[in-house]
Symmetry: C2
Subunit: 366 residues, 2 copies
């Protein structure tokens, strides 16, 4: 897929410590454990699980998630869904209002190709646009997106959800697929209240609601607190990151993704500079005040990023300090945006490369 | 280079307004004017100009910069330099401490291939590593990187610069190329003082200093305030962005890059949601409190980004508000990181696509 003649290649058997930097690397065993643990939680509570592939954008990893028991997958773009359909996935939920002829055309082709395509809508505009396009085609399944407090997309009230469900149910070319929300963290009670009220209103209209899809990594292990939901969606858990440690969903030892970087300068006693900047770690703070956690140097703080430099403040380090030439590992604040920067992802077991996967759905416009 | 079968293709003659979103688009005429204006300033002051290709990563654009009068180009990674060497560029300065066998090997091959490769070093460690590798090869030109106040890489004092220059001059396989700094903005006097003192010390040792390379987009039009410098490096000026408007280097009408996005939801009267999130705009704030400027809606504020959603606060808008389905243009905070997200870049004149270029040096590890 990404075959630049200038790509720096890693291959099975290489030692991670010998790889050129900066480069994200994934611990196979930690990743497998993350998949198993989260699926076991969902299974224990009878919740269907739909992993969000935005975190990795790699079909082979989605296959591992489905093999572990996931019901289907979640994509955020039509082009992502195309990559995963090509890889054989049939149950794909695209959690986005699809608007505009150029996207609808691809969506329609995809709907002809796989059996389980679903999208969301939160307005009459989106529903009517979908209906106009799909009226003469294979019907498209559409869920109503609800804003239960996160302040992004979604209808604002259960009554609006019911009205939109009815509109979908009555629309040519569309089939009502259920309800969906992306909650704010720690608000399971509000989510349950909104969804159960909307469900009651929809059922009172005689409309069946096949799926109630709750989601979000921040509320991953609160999924069982929303009994109205039939399924949960989450992505980050497969790799885990600093935000997931902070949320209490894992420990640093469950973080499967590290950014391998080299210390290239020690201009002062208190400053180290690494070759990982905003084009490797991204500027996502997610509420943190620095740009990642340096493994083995708990008091080191990545205080600033240029595009290809990271500046580390060592002034609070009590023990050893990294020296020029040292390779270090960084747990990123947010794995999903790191994945999106690299054309290939390197996997390893105990520091030996096991495989290199194309980040097949990276960089696609829509 | 990037030939995913799932790429959404744009082609010359397409209307920008019809393109799938989100997608950055570049105004050809604004870009050409930005190249001409900056080169004219450098020419007027007798300063060699070395554009930094990190902003666009596209050889055809570097060719336009060189055709306008640029002396050579600036890369930040060996792999970037490889892409530009392949495209025919000979005078390439890689402004990084190159450390580690895997990078040195590629650097040595590149040095055999082109006539004007140069790198920097700010420590004896880096110099000795380069010397050990290049001793039996074609000599490599090395500049001393100086920290004149920006707090990133670089020797801290002019005397250290002189000592390192002498070490390079005496090292097997290396040739001393001069001095380099990346300044903090608005500190031309400190830069001039540091560089002129270092120059005097180096010349007192009988060592010739061919290049004194000052840099940075924030200090672009302060270049003439550092007479010790023989050249200036900058990247962002070719596209310009919100940070360059704030710095007083251009107006919004000089911003050649826009992110084309679609309004996909209007959940409330005061909220719009677009299909451009942190995977299109990036989370780079660069000191701003929101994530870009919406053209035509000066009071709209992009207050939050998810990966594929941008939330716009419309509460302060006095006139019209964007509606669902509208396509809007956003001036990003920082162009360089946006370029790094997309495999292709679309150029247009008056809203009609003129060409589509591969972002050839994107996503290369090193």
């Amino acid at each position: 897929m990404h075959n630049s003649p200038f790509a720096v290649v890693a291959k099975p058997g290489d030692k991670v410590a010998d790889l050129s930097t900066p480069r994200p690397v994934i611990d196979e065993d930690r990743m497998a454990a993350n998949i198993a643990r989260t699926q076991a939680y969902m299974d224990a509570h009878g919740i269907d699980f739909r992993p969000h592939i935005k975190t990795h954008k790699i079909p082979a990893l989605a296959a591992q998630q489905v093999a572990a028991g996931a019901k289907g997958i979640n994509c955020q773009k039509v082009t992502e869904a195309e990559v995963f359909a090509e890889a054989g996935f049939e149950d794909i939920l695209v959690t986005f209002n699809i608007i505009g002829a150029e996207k609808l055309e691809r969506l329609a082709a995809l709907n002809e190709r796989i059996s389980g395509l679903k999208v969301v809508a939160d307005s009459a505009y989106t529903v009517d646009g979908l209906s106009a396009y799909f009226a003469a085609r294979k019907p498209l399944v559409v869920l109503v997106e609800c804003d239960t407090g996160a302040g992004r997309c979604g209808v604002q009230e259960p009554a609006q959800a019911a009205a939109l469900a009815k509109r979908i149910d009555a629309a040519a070319g569309l089939a009502f697929g259920g309800l969906l929300n992306y909650p704010k963290p720690g608000a399971a009670a509000e989510v349950q209240a909104f969804l159960s009220q909307a469900l009651a209103l929809i059922e009172a209209e005689g409309v069946t609601c096949p799926i109630v899809s709750n989601g979000g990594s921040p509320s991953l292990f609160d999924a069982h607190l929303v009994p109205a939901a039939t399924e949960h969606r989450a992505g980050t858990y497969i790799y885990n990151d600093r935000s997931m440690v902070r949320a209490g969903h894992c420990t640093v030892d469950d973080c499967a993704m590290h950014i391998l970087a080299t210390v290239v300068s020690r201009p002062t006693g208190d400053r180290a500079v690494i070759d990982a900047g905003s084009k490797a770690l991204t500027s996502d703070l997610l509420g943190f005040t620095d740009y990642g956690q340096v493994v083995g140097y708990p008091q080191a703080s990545i205080t600033g990023l240029s595009e290809e430099h990271g500046v580390i403040d060592l002034s609070k380090c009590e023990g050893a300090r990294p020296q020029i030439g040292d390779k270090i590992l960084i747990i990123p604040n947010h794995t999903c945006v790191v994945s999106n920067l690299f054309d290939t992802m390197v996997f390893h077991r105990d520091g030996v490369v096991t495989r290199v996967e194309d980040v097949a759905a990276r960089g696609l416009v829509w």
